[in-house]
Symmetry: C2
Subunit: 306 residues, 2 copies
């Protein structure tokens, strides 16, 4: 049996890093040979979680083909969010909770559910395979679900995510509300970050109606603090557009305490954006009250409008 | 809760019909409201199985949107093999054992495994959900696995398919080898069929390197009997090309007793076909020794060659 690499999406968030670690652990416990890797270094929130549960970040890779013939994707399925040479290797399995945009050459194993985090699906798979979750891995999976659901407040949150958080918090032996808020705040330390880090840190690319749309997002406890840097942020977004040929760059600034967002937009066309969210851009900005989920509240209305 | 329709691919084979019936039954047993339907009438093999296990064929639909907002796909995932208006409804779940070519607007449930039949995956799901399979449904699921794996002889056959066949044969209380050969032979009664029925009965469309490729397949116990009608078959294939804008029509004639096939080709380009199978077309024909599986032995080498 040959080794397979397991990894989450580029610009990894906590669920992308942790789901790779968790699924690799589960597969290895059931007789396969896999290694969890990552398509980037952990962000500050993920680093906080890794430190707290005494774990090491997965090795970063930039290509798969030099090492393996077969890969396993977690927390993503779209080629443009994956490793650069994903088209040259076999995708043998996918575990994911996103919408699908996938073409494969051969049949494969897929486990997808519309849950709040890939780590929630993995908890089910541990249970189905009757594999025990070590306490520190449970803590990381807990962190991933808290991260993706903003402490169970995002509209992507399902009943099972709530059960999963309680189950994993018990195994990890932490108070998830106290720990969760600490972890989310650790990810909102934006003052020390460059404008490029802010807009690109969690950015993903989407094709919408033939346009290349880049969407970044940051969580904060103070939206005004971010928009004090609006001019420099827009310059950075324009530079990314020029360099990568995007048509549009959207930057979603989310207040994790109030569960509201504000959108900053550079590029064209803006009409589908105004149509999607039912408002007019003012100074390139648009308030998105009650919006916290890119996946559920930003991408679907945009895709429909384009 | 609103009703969802569950259906297999157009030009349904036994697994497409049965997997819809089985998954709908499982979902209804676990509290959902679904109806199994079909995108065409059952072929003679499927009719034999339905008669043998005293079951009724699912109702045929031509569009989903007039009835429901949400559909569940089994035994296929590609839009071009699905209901005509699949783009206008939500795909809420998929159970499939084919390669993927799927784009959705929202997250969904997917269960895919590289097993010999979708009905084998469904047996796992019945077990996981601890739902008992009625004897006649077990007989139909057995028929579907025998059909897709040509009595466990196709290279798509996995160890689990063998276990599944034994498990289901026990529940259905049949000798699967005797029954299976009878059922397969019932599907090879080709003499009474028109050329159009032969080439189109199980045909699927694929996009390969920008070309529209239509691939039909029949099972027989006498390949020569089929090729006695070669001139009329080629006329029918050319008519389908003209009418539907295909670039190529491939017709795979498979001997279920010897597990060999012979290919008949109309359209262009033929170079990728000769490259894929390492031979020269002679009188539009090419022997494919040992080839029985369109999914595993025809589509992948063709896709690679195009």
């Amino acid at each position: 049996m040959t080794k397979k690499l397991v990894f989450g999406h580029a610009n990894p968030d906590t669920d992308a890093i942790v789901a790779a670690m968790a699924y690799s652990y589960l597969l290895n416990q059931t007789g396969q040979e896999t290694e969890a890797v990552a398509l980037g270094t952990p962000n500050e929130e993920t680093q906080f979680a890794l430190r707290h549960f005494d774990a090491t970040a997965p090795r970063v890779i930039t290509a798969a083909k030099p090492e393996v013939n077969s890969v396993i994707l977690v927390d993503h399925n779209e080629a443009q969010q994956s490793v650069s040479d994903v088209a040259e290797v076999e995708i043998s399995a996918i575990v994911d909770h996103h919408k699908f945009n996938l073409t494969t050459a051969t049949p494969l194993n897929i486990r997808a559910e519309a849950l709040g985090a890939t780590s929630s699906i993995l908890l089910k798979m541990f249970n189905e395979n009757k594999v025990e979750i070590p306490a520190n891995l449970a803590g990381l999976m807990l962190s991933a679900i808290i991260s993706d659901t903003l402490l169970l407040k995002s509209p992507t949150t399902t009943e099972f995510d709530k059960i999963a958080v309680q189950t994993l918090a018990e195994i990890a032996d932490v108070d998830y509300e106290t720990y969760g808020l600490e972890m989310l705040k650790a990810g909102t330390n934006l003052a020390t970050k460059s404008e490029l880090d802010l807009i690109e840190g969690d950015a993903k690319s989407f094709e919408m109606g033939g346009k290349q749309v880049r969407i970044g997002q940051v969580n904060t406890v103070d939206i005004d603090e971010v928009f004090e840097r609006q001019v420099a942020l827009e310059e950075a977004m324009q530079a990314e557009i020029n360099q990568n040929g995007y048509d549009l760059f959207l930057f979603v600034v989310t207040n994790i305490l109030t569960s509201d967002s504000e959108l900053l937009v550079v590029g064209a066309p803006v009409a589908p954006i105004e149509k999607a969210f039912g408002g007019k851009l003012d100074n390139d900005r648009l308030a998105l009250p009650g919006v916290v989920s890119r996946k559920k509240q930003v991408v679907p209305p945009l895709t429909a409008a384009f």
